[in-house]
Each structure stands twice: as C-alpha cells, then as structure tokens.
C-alpha cells in the first residue's frame, strides 16, 4: 500500500495527460472515410474506457480479497474504485455520444455497443443501490463484494464480446474503418498508448484520494 502515498506516478500521469491532450490536437492523423478529423476523439474517448477497466479490475481484486480477509479497508477500496469507474463510464459515454452526433448524426442511434454500455452502466448503478439497501456494515461489504464479482464478467461480456458478435456502427465492429492494426499508424500509437496508461493512473489517483478520505472518516467513526 506504500504505492498510493508516493508522488512520482501522479506527476507522471499529469505530464503524460498534458502531452496527449496537446499532441492529440496538433499531430497529423490519417484521413479515413466517414471519421476524418474526428479520429482525434480516439485520444480522448478510448482512454476513458481503459481507465474504467483499470479501476473496475482493481475493485474486483479487492472484492475477492475482502471475501478472504473480511478487512473493511478492502471494501472501502472496492467501493471507491467503483465510484470512480462509474464517473469514467459517464465520461466515456458522453465523449462517445458527442462524437457520434458528428459522425452518425445522432447522439444515440440504437447501436449495439452504445446499448451494451448503457446496460453495463445499469449494472454498476445496481451495485451502488445494493450498497445503500443494507445498513449493517459487514453484511453490506460482503454482499456487495459478491455482487461485484458476479457483475464483472457480465460487464466484460457486454462491452467486449456482445458488440463484436453483431453488426455495429462503432469503429472496429462490423467492417467499419477501425483504429486497429491496419489503420492506426505509428504516430497515433505514440499518443494513444501513453494516454491509456496516464488516464488509468489518473483514475487510480482519484480513487486513492477518495479511499484516503473514507479511511479517515472510518477511523473517526470507529471506537478505540
């Protein structure tokens, strides 16, 4: 747990995010049909989902740990990671919707990928509602950890697997121009991959801050 109190990776995250924000707007991009200049949204839209996956994965790991240890700190980490993940979920949806307005013509066009993302959003909202429904702390921690572990594979299926099984307007699905191996040139990778890592670190940073606040509250409320 030393890692969350160190500062170097936070500085790294901020510097790299600034780099990707500026370079993403300035550096030349390949001109693909339909998407054209909106391809730059890759730098701002896809890293949101990467950040979300990172914190949700951490959350599941700590939920599994909680079932083994019954340590309330693990539960606090799990819930704060989900809170941050839901925030990045919303950012991912909104950046995608704004992009869709300019390329597909509608904010919401009944696309399988959009629908799956919305359902997965409901899944994590259900997790937060479940937490509110239970008063007793240990019981709440245990039951929500179980639901979190149950929900995670469903979320993976919804976002990663189902849209690929059907035709989708989304780039990379159903024969649309994608940012995959063939279309993504090396310049774009120079920005995209650092952006993945930097935004993931940034999300983890927010989660650790929230976790530390919760930890202080928890210590204040506990009897000693």
């Amino acid at each position: 747990m030393k890692f969350i109190y160190q500062w170097w990776w936070k500085v790294l995250a901020v510097v790299v995010i600034l780099y990707t924000l500026i370079a993403g707007l300035l550096i030349n991009v390949p001109r693909l049909p339909i998407v054209h200049e909106t391809i730059r949204n890759t730098y701002y839209h896809v890293p949101m989902w990467m950040a979300m996956f990172t914190v949700f994965t951490i959350s599941v790991i700590y939920s599994i740990k909680y079932l083994g240890s019954s340590n309330p700190k693990h539960d606090l980490i799990a819930v704060e990671c989900v809170n941050v993940g839901v925030f990045f979920f919303i950012l991912g949806l909104v950046t995608g919707m704004i992009w869709a307005k300019y390329t597909w013509g509608e904010y919401w066009s009944n696309d399988p990928k959009q629908n799956s993302a919305a359902i997965a959003f409901l899944l994590y909202c259900a997790y937060l509602v479940l937490r509110n429904a239970i008063d007793e702390e240990q019981k709440r921690a245990k039951i929500s950890a179980i639901y979190n572990i149950f929900a995670f594979p469903v979320m993976i299926v919804l976002i990663m697997v189902l849209p690929r099984m059907t035709d989708s307007l989304h780039p990379g699905n159903g024969g649309n121009p994608a940012f995959g191996k063939l279309d993504l040139d090396s310049k774009m990778r120079m920005i995209l991959y650092p952006a993945f890592i930097a935004w993931s670190l940034f999300a983890v940073w927010i989660a650790t801050l929230r976790y530390r606040i919760r930890l202080i509250e928890y210590k204040q409320n506990s009897l000693d």
């Binding site: 359902i119 899944l123 429904a133 019981k139 245990k142 039951i143 149950f150």
Partner: protein, 227 residues
Amino acid sequence: MELINQTLTLLKKEILLEWRSKYAFNGVLLYVVSTVFVCYIAFNLSAGFTGSSGYPIVWNVLFWIIMLFASVNAIAKSFVQESRGRLLYYYSIASPQAIILSKIIYNMLLMALLSTLAILVYVVFFKNVVGDPLLYFASVIIGSISFSTVFTMISAIASKAGNNGTLMAILSFPVIIPVILILVRFSKNAMDGLDRSLNYGHIGALAAINAIVIATSLLLFPYLWRD
C-alpha cells in the same frame, strides 16, 4: 458423491414442499394467465391488430417480457420463504454448494413446467404465428433454464439484503438483458421458420452463459451463506 446425494435429497424436499402447498406454482401460474389476459384485452382495443405487419414481432417480444416478469416473481420466492432457523439447519447438515445447486435445479424444473403452460395459454389468446413450433418450444425451455440459473443466485443476494421486490428487479435486469437479447433473436428465427442450423450459435452462447453463471454461483454462494 456426497454432494450429489445431498443435492438430490434437498431437491426432493423442495419438490415435496411445493407439492404439498402448491403456493409458488399456482401463484405464478395465475400471474402469467392474468398478465396474458390483460395484454390480450389491451392490445385488442385497437381493431385489426392481429392482421398488422408488426404483429409477429410484438407476439414474440411480449411473450418474453411476460416470461421475464413471471420468472422474477417465481424465483424471488426461493430464498425468502425459508425461515432463518431452517436455513441454519440446512447449513449444519449440507454443504452450501448442494443447497444452491438444489435450488437451481428445482427452479429450472419449476420454470420449465410454468413456461410450457404459459406458452399454451399464450397461444390460446394470441393467434399463433410460429413457423417452427418445435424449435420455438426448445427456445422457451432453454430460456426458462437460463432465467432460473441467473435469478437463483440474484435472489440469494437480494434475500440477504432484506428489501426484496425492487432490489431483485434492479439487480437482475442488467444481468439478464444479454440473455434476453439472444433469446429474442433465437425465438424470432424459430418463428420465421428459418433453417435450424442458424441457431446453433445462439444455443452455444446461452449454454456458455449458463455454465459461467452456475460456476460463479457455486464459487460465491459459500461466502454469501455465512451470516
């Protein structure tokens, strides 16, 4: 071997209890019949509905929505009806895996029976437009099995959380939507009488989802069980 024996004994007990009271069965059957009847009356307020071009789509989707709500109601009962003392007794005599397994199998049997009756009632009220009845029936049975596996674990979680009705719906609907999507596509293919080989992929996907859900239930239920 121990697990199978315990599961079978618990399953026998579930069926015996249900046979004596017939509460869940009759309750849900009445629920399905009255929902179908309400839908029948409401849809037939507008004349020419059965002849309209969208009729087969509505026929299929409406059936699955009725089944969805019926199965949520049927399976939500499976853990609530057990009193605290009785649960404690099970815990002392059987392994948690045997308990969740017996509940899943019991719910599968119950839902398979109920959905068979439901589709019969549904066909009586809504003019039948199914092209391949045997395959459609297969989709109904597979659907009821999938509903049972998912909802049993969710109902265990919801029953531990106390507040039941809303929580059960909120927790289960996002999980069941992928299943419903596949089922609606599968049954629409059966309805249009398309070639059966088109549906192998759907059946495979549903089997995979069921396998994952049963595996996670078996892994997680022992933790949920302890109080």
